[in-house]
Structure formats: C-alpha cells, structure tokens
C-alpha cells in the first residue's frame, strides 16, 4: 500500500481511505513522509558525478573507436 501511494498507483477511492487512515496513524504518516523524502533526496543529489575531464577522455576514445569501425 505504502509504495502504491508513493507511486501514485492507487484508485481515488483507495487514496481517500488511506488518507483517512493517515490522519489518525502517526506511524504510517512518518513512514510515508520520510520514505518520500528518502527518494527525493536521492533523486535530487548527484552522488556519482562524472569529472568533466573523464567525460572528454571517454568521449574522444569512443568516437575514435567508432570512426575506425567498431
């Protein structure tokens, strides 16, 4: 249920029922809000950014190989 709500994969009726439950259940409310935040933080922060120098080196290597015929 939790993941369906996060992914917006619930019917209108089910959403209303879940929202009603969440109003009275702190346990589920905190789990939902912090799980959503977990996803948002991972999505919005680049944790494995490529150094620009590497990008250019790989790029040159790929194009050189391709021009010779891969």
């Amino acid at each position: 249920m939790l993941d369906d709500l996060i992914d917006d994969a619930v019917t209108t009726e089910m959403r209303a029922d879940l929202q009603e439950h969440l109003r009275g259940c702190e346990h589920c409310g905190v789990t939902l809000s912090t799980t959503r935040k977990t996803i948002q933080i991972y999505r919005s922060h680049e944790i494995y950014e490529m150094p620009s120098g590497l990008r250019e080196r790989l790029h040159t290597a790929i194009m050189a190989r391709c021009k010779k015929g891969c």
Partner: protein, 218 residues
C-alpha cells in the same frame, strides 16, 4: 511480462529514433549526440551497481561501444534509453562478479532481511534535514548508505527511483517480474529510509538539528 511501450505514439516519434536511424546510415555524429545525452545516466547506473569508480568508467565506455556495434539488433519497440540501460546493467553486473569472485552476485537472488520490512526507527525527520550537511558530507552519507544495500535492491532503486524508469521498464531491463521489482523497491526504500534516519531524525526537545558524526554503521 509487460512489454516496454514507446512513450510516443505512432505519429509522435521519440527524438532518439531519428538519431538511431542516422547512426545506422553511417552518421557517427548522431551517435555522439546520443552519448552526450545519456553518458551521465549510464555512468551513474554503473557506479550504483559496481560501487567502483574504475569499473564504472570502463562500463560506460564498453556500454556505448557495444550499443554502437549492436545497433542493428535494437528493435524500435523499446526506447533506445532502456535498451542502452540494459546493456549497461549487464556490463556492470559482469564487472561486479569479476571483483567478487567466489561471492554470489545475482539480481535474481531474493534477499530476505528483516530490515526494510517492518520500520523500526520511526522518529520523524527534521524539516529539510539535508540542510544540516554540506553538499560533500551529504553526498558521502548517501553513497555510504546505498552501498550497504544488497546489489539486487540497489539496482532496482537506482533504475526506478533515481533514473525514473517505470516499474515495467525496470522489470524488463533486469529480467525480473513486476511483483519482484515492486517488492525489492519497497524494501530498498525502507532500508534506505531507516539507515538515513540516524542522520536526519528530529532531535527530541530541539527544533534545531546539528550534524551527526560521519560514518555509517553496517
């Protein structure tokens, strides 16, 4: 298993289709465009899976070269991006297996853990908890936290939540069933949430939250 459907309708061709067609006709610069468009995503996925920078660099190069070589095998019924991701995932898993000789590395293997099934740490988080850390501290926390997940959970979370593939696309890319993807995704999310709680939770009796010490217990 569900088939990946093209987002664009028949009359709305995805821009990649035209680029792929140009490459097939010998225009290497069109492939150059595809590389620049997706290199960051491919590198990120490779890093998520291999957890090794050198391997991720190799995977990125090998994945694009393989995509170029095998472009004739690309069927227009899936998106070029998801096709490329499938190649990158396979290359990444191969590298991971090589580094972990003797250890089981399989995304098919289901991992039963108690963590991630029943939330234990239910302390609420501070508002905008990431503000309490510098960018580099936060990146380190996020890297260490996701590194602790089993590879089969990590890859599902990376594809679905970080890269934004649909459940169906993730299932097809990894050769998993849709229920398996959903189950792993939920457990990955809950495990990450629980592990991040020690950094982000609201301190009792205080509105201001100071940075927690770096390092993550396994």
């Amino acid at each position: 298993m569900a088939t990946i459907q093209s987002i664009a309708g028949e009359n709305e061709q995805h821009p990649d289709v035209a680029l792929v067609e140009r490459v097939r006709q010998g225009d290497v610069s069109a492939f150059d465009t595809l590389v620049r468009k997706y290199e960051r995503q491919v590198f990120r996925i490779a890093q998520h899976i291999t957890q090794n920078r050198e391997d991720a660099e190799d995977v990125m190069q090998d994945a694009f070269l393989k995509a170029y070589e095998k472009l004739d095998q690309f069927q227009g019924n899936s998106k070029f991006y998801t096709w490329l991701v499938r190649i990158a995932v396979n290359e990444s898993l191969m590298r991971l297996r090589r580094r972990r000789t003797g250890k089981m590395v399989s995304i098919d293997e289901d991992v039963e853990t108690e963590e991630g099934s029943v939330p234990r740490d239910l302390a609420d988080w501070a508002p905008d908890p990431e503000q309490n850390y510098t960018q580099s501290e936060l990146a380190e926390i996020l890297r260490k936290t996701i590194q602790g997940l089993p590879p089969g959970f990590r890859v599902v979370f990376a594809l679905r939540d970080v890269e934004g593939l649909s459940t169906e696309e993730t299932a097809e890319t990894l050769g998993l069933s849709i229920p398996a993807v959903k189950s792993r995704l939920l457990r990955a999310r809950l495990q990450l949430r629980e592990r991040l709680s020690r950094y982000f939770k609201r301190k009792s009796g205080s509105a201001a939250v100071g940075p927690a010490p770096m390092g993550i217990d396994k």
